[in-house]
């Protein structure tokens, strides 16, 4: 019996009991747009920021092209992801937001135990919801990073329309946001690609489903709730 969180009428779909739908199409789309845009922005942005990366810009046709790409992709980064909160079925985006800002005791315990996990050992923490404490922090970094990097980026883009004092502050803010997000991304990628224990979560962001086993072990609270909903419907 697969658990479907998306379709209210489960009778219409065949349910595979071995997997659980974790991310809808919309969520996956916004994640990947955000992710790809982020990498493009990071790559082109570093070209502007540092001489170390400038030679690499030749790959995209030079630094001026890189700057253009940076600005163009910045629009995608902001607009497309932003739109997902309003078009299609935005409920899950809002739920995600609500969830990450609801940082519980259980989340905190997860975070404290996490370093052990990170290095392949076993941490002890209570059952986690759809997003565990670590994911919530990653999300928060992403949310705040995106907001600050967007706002500061706009100030930098339209520098002549803002007072120099503000523009001057935009640079460190932009840079700091980038650093935080980059650091988070490194961890995020490790966990989903190289961390044997967390790695199965990747499937959820690819086809939407995670194994029931993974869901039960890593997000027990969520799994139980979804199962209840399923059973009650």
């Amino acid at each position: 019996m697969a658990i479907n969180t998306q379709i209210k009428n489960p009778a219409q779909k065949q349910i595979d009991p071995n997997k659980v739908l974790r991310f809808t199409k919309g969520e996956r789309l916004s994640h990947w747009v955000h992710a790809i845009a982020f990498f493009v922005l990071l790559f082109t942005g570093l070209g502007v920021l540092s001489t170390f990366f400038q030679p690499a810009m030749l790959g995209v046709g030079g630094i001026q092209v890189a700057r253009l790409i940076h600005r163009g992709v910045a629009v995608v980064f902001v607009v497309v992801v932003g739109l997902m909160f309003f078009v299609g079925n935005p409920r899950y985006h809002w739920e995600w937001l609500k969830s990450v800002f609801n940082f519980t005791r259980a989340d905190l315990q997860h975070v404290t135990a996490f370093p052990k996990e990170f290095f392949g050992a076993h941490g002890t923490y209570p059952p986690q919801d759809k997003y565990n404490g670590g994911e919530k922090i990653n999300s928060l970094i992403t949310i705040f990073g995106s907001v600050f990097i967007t706002l500061s980026g706009m100030v930098m883009w339209f520098a002549t329309s803002f007072p120099p004092g503000l523009v001057r502050w935009a640079y460190p803010v932009h840079d700091l946001s980038m650093i935080m997000m980059t650091a988070a991304t490194i961890g995020h990628m490790y966990l989903c690609l190289l961390h044997p224990d967390s790695n199965p979560a990747l499937a959820g962001m690819i086809n939407g489903y995670v194994s029931t086993k993974f869901a039960r072990s890593h997000h027990a609270k969520w799994y139980d709730r979804v199962k209840d909903e399923q059973n009650n419907s």
Binding site: L46, L49, S50, T51, F52, F53, G165, R168
Partner: protein, 196 residues
């Protein structure tokens, strides 16, 4: 918003741990690199500024027949190398696209110029000079003697129809030749800017 110098130094202290990712700030000091001077290989011509009557010295740097730079002549006692904005700008006269570079003629009633040759231009002017000179020649003036009341005739050898304005804008030799030209062809009406 800004930090004082002391604050700056304090904050700088934090930078020592800069990490070699390329993000770190690398205070670059230019190595003494050779700055080539565009004047190399040019010939210097002293000249005199063409604006006011101060007679400031200018130095022209000419390379392969082209004026490449113009500045005040440092050896000149009047200006010691300096020039006013007008003098400083005189390079631009040498190759100004707005200079007149060919003789031209505007026919009576015409609304445009036509380029003509030097030969034609000089011919036209010479012929007109002769024509006006001959037509407006005054052999004598009649003057009433203030004491006797008698009208007397005096030879004056003068053309009344030609006037020449110029010039404080040309060299002495040219001014002189204009002066001589006018009096020899019979016109005393040679005036120029000194009057005004």
């Amino acid at each position: 918003m800004d930090v004082s110098r002391r604050g700056f130094l304090k904050l700088s202290g934090l930078s020592i741990a800069a990490f070699a990712t390329g993000l770190g700030f690398d205070p670059a000091v230019a190595e003494a690199k050779g700055y080539a001077l565009k004047l190399e290989g040019s010939k210097k011509f002293p000249s005199i500024c063409h604006f006011c009557a101060g007679g400031c010295g200018m130095l022209l740097y000419v390379k392969e027949g082209k004026l490449i730079h113009l500045e005040g002549d440092s050896d000149h006692p009047t200006n010691e190398g300096t020039l006013c904005p007008k003098g400083s700008s005189l390079l631009s006269v040498a190759y100004s696209p707005d200079r007149v570079t060919k003789p031209r003629r505007r026919a009576p009633g015409a609304d445009h110029w036509e380029d003509i040759s030097w030969e034609e231009a000089l011919d036209r002017v010479a012929k007109k000079t002769k024509e006006v000179r001959d037509a407006s020649w005054k052999v004598a003036d009649e003057v009433v003697n203030a004491k006797t009341g008698v009208t007397e005739t005096f030879p004056v050898n003068r053309t009344e129809g030609i006037a020449f304005l110029g010039s404080a804008e040309v060299d002495n030799e040219e001014s002189y030749l204009i002066s001589k030209f006018c009096r020899v062809i019979g016109t005393p009406y040679n005036e120029h800017q000194a009057r005004i």
